[in-house]
């Protein structure tokens, strides 16, 4: 429990909707150390973003935390007071959202948005002069490898390309991330070449500043060169956790195995099969193993109880009855 920058422990989150309760997160645990780079992979809808929003405490109004704790730098995030939370937001942790177009206010100039963020992150008590704030904003845009930063400050989001918007979001995060950076699928909405550039930029920034990172991705390729520890998530459950190399060379959970097999290889082997079935509905979900309905190895007890995370050594944990207990 000690020494870690961020500890998410057994998090349960549900959403209240018209039809009932969406029990999305079912006991998610993550830990991120200082300067550690951690990745989370999983399909759409598995709860990755929900977990991240919980860490940043920007969940929707209809979200309920039904259990678990989040400890960040010694603070109990879920119970933290407004002022303290805001201080952390301004100086310590920050998040890059999945879709940079949606993450920028469409009716304000970049300059407005960035300068307001910068002003509160750096000059928390004193009142800065406008020129100082603007200079700092330009610096940040430059660190995000944006050309013509002055022109960008005076532009509106819709006037920039997708890649530029993503860099602007990165620049904004740099203002307020001194310890932890959460990147939610930073390249998903972009062209592959641009995505590659963005990932390189992120890597460089993270190294330079010694930040801890949580990188969420669909793309196995992107995480491979970036993170040292990987989590695999499925339907609100953390199914496997391992150092990157270990996970790729020795995937244990049936889901992870299928996931890795689903990546087409240039060296041949034919077109991958994919996994039959779909993510279960969070409305009608039970306490059974959530992958049970799609698992080749599923036994009786898999459909009754969810497996805890079994430690198989080497920093490798699997939530599957194949590797322990019953």
């Amino acid at each position: 429990m000690t020494g870690q920058l961020l500890e998410v422990n057994d998090l349960h989150i549900s959403y209240k909707v018209y039809e009932g309760l969406l029990r999305v997160l079912n006991g998610v645990s993550i830990s991120v150390g200082e300067k550690e780079k951690v990745g989370i992979i999983g399909e759409s809808g598995c709860g990755k973003t929900t977990t991240m929003k919980a860490i940043m405490r920007i969940l929707a109004a209809n979200a309920m935390v039904a259990g678990g704790t989040i400890a960040y730098k010694g603070h109990d995030i879920l119970r933290l007071g407004r002022q303290e939370l805001m201080r952390l937001h301004r100086t310590s942790m920050s998040m890059i959202f999945q879709d940079p177009t949606a993450a920028l206010n469409p009716v304000f100039k970049i300059g407005d948005q960035l300068q307001d963020i910068v002003r509160y992150s750096e000059w928390r008590s004193s009142v800065p002069n406008k020129q100082e704030v603007r200079t700092r904003a330009v610096e940040l845009l430059k660190s995000a490898a944006l050309p013509e930063p002055e022109r960008i400050l005076d532009s509106y989001p819709f006037q920039l390309s997708g890649g530029m918007r993503q860099r602007v979001c990165i620049a904004m995060s740099l203002a307020s991330a001194k310890d932890l950076l959460i990147a939610d699928e930073p390249g998903t909405s972009l062209d592959v070449t641009i995505e590659d550039q963005i990932m390189r930029l992120l890597k460089q920034i993270v190294e330079e500043r010694g930040l801890s990172v949580i990188l969420i991705s669909h793309s196995i390729g992107a995480v491979k060169g970036f993170v040292t520890k990987l989590y695999v998530m499925y339907a609100g459950m953390m199914v496997e956790e391992a150092p990157t190399e270990e996970l790729f060379s020795n995937p244990l959970h049936p889901y992870t195995q299928n996931l890795l097999k689903a990546v087409p290889k240039l060296t041949g082997g034919g077109v991958p099969e994919g996994i039959a079935g779909r993510i279960p509905s969070y409305l009608t979900i039970t306490d059974a193993c959530r992958f049970g309905s799609r698992c080749r190895f599923a036994k009786e007890h898999c459909h009754i109880n969810a497996p805890p995370a079994f430690d198989v050594g080497n920093g490798h944990k699997v939530a599957c009855f194949l590797y322990g207990g019953s």
Partner: protein, 341 residues
């Protein structure tokens, strides 16, 4: 496109539309069954009087000649003679228009000044008692016609509680300020007569509120749902996650995008204030051009009717253009789309 081009285009289009409107009104007035002259003078008037009036109104000439007469008169600054007041309609309009404009302006200010803040607060505190109250009241408010609101206000505040006076623009015992703009409120401020100013405001408040009630309810509801929707948008969550203080977030980053859907509807409603003014002025006996218009309509005063409808059209068009400009200002995507990088 640039702002000036935009305005120019709209103005010329509006002029075209208004011309079309004048023809429409003209045609309707002349073509529909019933002899306007007979209707105006009543069934007991002698035939020769009716015939005289027909001559006077050029009713025996072909339609386009009649229209020509009307247009050329208007160009020379005359809108024809009113059957009721026996003066040039233009003079009547000049006398009564300021009162209506004053009323509508105050109503518009009330709508803008009340609907948006109420909607914002309700949206921020969704599902609180305040929000629920706002939602219920706005449902009802939208369903209340302006004339019902006017009567209820008159009854409750005018008679029962005796708070606000019910007739006229200013109390009889207070001297009206010298006319500069025709707006008693502004004129009294100009001449430094504070008593008159407050008196005028008190007389204005009931009819203005009656007019504004429907739009306030509607716009508050739209603002509220817009706020609730935007609160979950990524760009707001992102701003929160960067630690921007709440005040700034609400008053700057939440307000503007939430206002945009409201302002468009608000434009239609404010422009329509002129329509409801017809009923409200009647009830409060407000000496404005709308009440003049109703009287003209009841008395079949053709020239006056045409003039009043045209004025309503002009006010409506101007209000719409102003609103479009405001929306373009608020939403840069509309302004700058053609210049997108």
């Amino acid at each position: 496109m640039r702002m000036s081009t935009f305005i120019l285009k709209r103005l010329s289009y509006t002029v075209f539309v208004l011309f079309g409107l004048s023809i429409l009104i003209f045609v309707i007035a002349r073509v529909l069954p019933g002899d306007p002259a007979r209707l105006a003078l009543g069934p007991r008037a002698p035939d020769w009087a009716v015939e005289n009036l027909r001559q006077q109104l050029h009713l025996n000439e072909p339609l386009y000649i009649q229209y020509f007469y009307w247009v050329s008169d208007a160009a020379r600054g005359s809108l024809g003679e009113s059957l009721v007041t026996r003066r040039d309609v233009l003079t009547d309009v000049q006398e009564f228009l300021p009162a209506t404009l004053e009323l509508i302006t105050l109503s518009a200010l009330l709508v803008v000044g009340l609907a948006i803040p109420i909607g914002m607060v309700a949206g921020r505190r969704a599902n609180s008692w305040f929000d629920n109250l706002v939602r219920v009241l706005s449902y009802v408010g939208v369903a209340v016609p302006a004339f019902v609101a006017a009567i209820v206000f008159l009854l409750v505040f005018g008679f029962m509680l005796n708070i606000a006076p019910s007739i006229g623009r200013i109390s009889p015992n207070i001297a009206a300020p010298p006319t500069v703009t025709g707006f008693i409120t502004i004129d009294s401020l100009i001449s430094g007569n504070i008593t008159a100013f407050f008196d005028a405001v008190v007389h204005l408040i009931l009819p203005a509120l009656a007019l504004a009630l429907g739009p306030i309810a509607q716009e508050a509801r739209i603002t509220r749902s817009s706020v609730v929707e935007n609160l979950n948008k990524d760009y707001i969550l992102s701003t929160v996650s960067h630690g921007v203080p709440e005040r700034l977030l609400t008053l700057k980053y939440l307000l503007r995008p939430s206002m945009i859907p409201t302002v468009s509807v608000m434009g239609l409603d404010i422009a329509a204030l002129i329509a409801n003014a017809f009923l409200v002025e009647l009830i409060f006996n407000w000496p404005g051009v709308s009440r003049y218009g109703i009287t003209a309509m009841l008395r079949k005063d053709l020239n006056a009717i045409v003039a009043v409808v045209m004025i309503a059209g002009i006010i409506f068009a101007i209000a719409n253009i102003v609103v479009d400009l405001i929306v373009a200002y608020l939403d840069p995507r509309i302004r700058l789309v053609e210049r997108a990088a």
